[in-house]
Symmetry: C2
Subunit: 460 residues, 2 copies
Amino acid sequence: MIVAVDQVLETVDATIEETLERLFTLLAIPSISTDPAFDADCTRAADWLVADLQALGFDAQRHDTPGKPMVVGKTSTGTGPSFLFYGHYDMQPVDPLDLWEHDPFKADISERGGQKVIRGRGSSDDKGQLMTFIEACRAWKAVHGTLPGNLTIFLEGEEESGSPSLIPFLRAQKELLSADLALVCDTGMYDLETPSICTSLRGMLGEEITITGPNRDLHSGAYGGPATNPIRVLTKILAALHDDQGRVTVPGFYDGVPETPQVLKDAWAGLGFETANFLGPVGLSTPAGEVDRSVLEMIWTRPTCEFNGITGGYTGDGFKTVLPAEARAKVSFRLVGTQDPHAIRKNFRAMVEGMLPPDAKVSFADHGASPASVMPTDAPAFEQARTALTEEWGKEAVFVGGGGSIPVVGRFKEELGIDSMLVGFAQDDDAIHSPNEKYNLMSFHKGIRSWVRILEKLNG
Amino acid sequence: MIVAVDQVLETVDATIEETLERLFTLLAIPSISTDPAFDADCTRAADWLVADLQALGFDAQRHDTPGKPMVVGKTSTGTGPSFLFYGHYDMQPVDPLDLWEHDPFKADISERGGQKVIRGRGSSDDKGQLMTFIEACRAWKAVHGTLPGNLTIFLEGEEESGSPSLIPFLRAQKELLSADLALVCDTGMYDLETPSICTSLRGMLGEEITITGPNRDLHSGAYGGPATNPIRVLTKILAALHDDQGRVTVPGFYDGVPETPQVLKDAWAGLGFETANFLGPVGLSTPAGEVDRSVLEMIWTRPTCEFNGITGGYTGDGFKTVLPAEARAKVSFRLVGTQDPHAIRKNFRAMVEGMLPPDAKVSFADHGASPASVMPTDAPAFEQARTALTEEWGKEAVFVGGGGSIPVVGRFKEELGIDSMLVGFAQDDDAIHSPNEKYNLMSFHKGIRSWVRILEKLNG
């Protein structure tokens, strides 16, 4: 097999120009899912991918939905462990167009920050990333004559617009999509040189609390003192949600929060992470989270409570001596391990209600609840992929956490019972969702090579 | 003198119809100072008043300013203590016009809530009130042949638009306006039957604090935990401004706050004040201020700290997982006694700065500072007026506090060195600043009679 892998990698290198042409063709289709004006383009992108997968030998089909089509392609001959590859072919809108330094739909190779980069909307998120996998399959096929193993490729067209069709489709196509493990290519590397596998994603609980007091806005001269002030009630409540150690005070909040494994801590110690490099660019210097946790723990393996918005009373220019009738705040909790968002919601609401003074009332709005995703890093695939990435990049690949959430990972787990392995090659400066999105040529080229090596180990 | 007073009062009663006609004429002039479209009407109202004062025998003149004219009329023959009467001839706008049940500039007598009322913009605030004094002078003159004592009448035309010309005018006309005591008719009665003299007005300190953290809005997935959240910093600070007894925690805040005199507490105990009647109509039931203070103390003689507005992060519909770059709050302090607003501002700012975590910065905006006005109730005029009001209304007149501020009172003190005695006959339901403003006919009629009795005692 070693010989074969080397041959596949050589094929990747030898064909990189035509590989790039194919990516440019896909990037030229403005499949912007949030804007109905681009509906036909989304379908066109799906059709292009179906045709490409079919040409490669996949049993591939476009699956229409009430929204954008899904693309599914399967190998027909696979045995052994089965894998479900996921990517998305839809892209973010491009406005403001005048901030782009080139036509966002005319991809090209340019140079930026000492790196050769592929410029264009979708180059990093996610067409460039998904094509690393398809191109790995193409090179594999060219050498082996067959596609690698027992594989399903699943490409979504609504990731940038909330995936309204995803859950119904997963439920309807359970069998078609069944696999032992999902491979998701929609994340980044730790840095320019360090490949990484994201092994946990924080969940989220969103709550909005509205405190009401008097039945109308009052004048603070006439009522200031005896009248309950909803802003005062709200700030008292919010201020009580963290203790002086930075811990969240909601009862039972830390139930299900695992201690960060020593093996992860050890691996992270080798990353050379510098707080100044992380916080400095956003104008900060001192970690504000739990006092006894490292910054990497704070964003990767520790839960949080954050205030995302607050409003009440007069907020315009100048001053009004109003005692407002209500005040509102949006509060979110990032969750880890097996924290139960529904139990936390219940306890949070009870805590808030328990803090209300006599004349204050509260109402709550539910802004979503999803548990954390924790990947089974002891499954063989994770160590195989880590070895493959280390070999390709010449630097130890690392298991990292993800501070945010990638909803499809939770959906695969809930609807299909499938864990995910997240391998991606994006960089923090790719400007996804912004003007001048790019994808490093090295990310694309070595990304393809990485998948070749991963597929070889997974099917070894 | 008793005979003379009775004659003057009889004259008031006998001439009330023509007195009302004069008020209606004044109310027909739309002297709205906030709208330049009514500039000429403001001048017309001033001229009408000058002419009326002159006809009465005052040495009266219109004094033009960069804004609306001032009207000043003086008696030429007075001896003994000197008094400066203040009222304002400008009025609030009338929109929304469709909520009025009649033409706001065609005053009439109607019936509302079992009371005969004078309907019309300015009927209560403040043309009706100022005419109670002028009509008292007129009846006095009719009986005595001379005007009462050593008197200056000073009528402003910018009270509803921030009085921009007031301070320059006071400074320029110090001598013209000099007096031993100001008589201000722009306040109300305690209730329908109980005359009152307002003997204190709370001062105010307005502050806006802006907390900044990161140099731009951040994503709470990527930065939630280690990044300083300005809303969290702000709510911690605001929550610390009151202790659990409802007291304000700014260092030195209670310096200069006098204990409420027992004589006032005793008088107030006789008012039959019911918390339920005060808080119930605005949807509240339980006083929220200092736990050991009565509601009347809370609004009349105790200082407060209120939050009038707060904003930060995402406040629209739905949810955004943003960690905002800044959060802002408007904070006001109502002040009493000899509390020094400048010292409190300094201490407040130092307290806020002392609570900032490492990565948070604060900036402050100054929204005004005025000390409380505390009237010298031991001066003979106060007891004389109280006796006069008690005689007229047949119910013990009471010294009350004012929760808000009447800026002219502070200006008279600061610029002219003159204390004020606030006597007025408005009712809480007069709808000043709102559609369908009214002034009870009883307020007008007995208000004139009250001033006759007060003038008699002051000059006795």
